[in-house]
Subunit: 95 residues, 2 copies
């Protein structure tokens, strides 16, 4: 099992736009094989920080996600809405 | 429901020590009222980045967690093991 924490620092006037574009990405990703959880989360104190918290069965599922039509169509539209570089990290749970 | 992503950048020679100290924090926190999920996660590419991914029912549960004996005893022992400041963010899921 692999968790992904993908943090986006969004231009303040583009937050609603980002959320709207991400909605379809969330819905389509949840239908994928190997997707255990996938949600967009908004920082309570800093609402322009929008972070995907994801859980996948294995790396193969993540590779398929990154190659999916919805990923390749929607993710490039999110980049220009960002105020500064974000951060994507892949994690394994410590037993 | 509130998610916490608490990232720690640990001194490379203190990673095993950090994981060992965190083990009791994870076990005790999971027993708390309002704790939905609580796990330590290790970055796959950068193993000295250790991140708690947590889910709590509400802010009251988080307040009780921060005031708990195990939190107040164990968290201060983790600070000196860090190579640089980490990051703690509280999130609400975007519907």
């Amino acid at each position: 099992m692999i968790s992904i924490i993908a943090k986006n620092i969004v231009k303040s006037d583009q937050v609603e736009n980002f959320k709207s574009l991400a909605r379809e990405l969330v819905a389509e990703s949840r239908k994928e094989r190997g997707c255990i959880a996938y949600a967009l989360n908004q920082d309570i104190k800093q609402p322009n920080v929008l972070t995907f918290i994801e859980r996948w069965e294995d790396q193969a599922a993540i590779d398929a996600h990154n190659a999916s039509g919805h990923f390749k169509r929607i993710v490039p539209t999110l980049g220009p809405l960002q105020a500064e570089p974000g951060e994507v990290r892949l994690y394994r749970e410590v037993e």
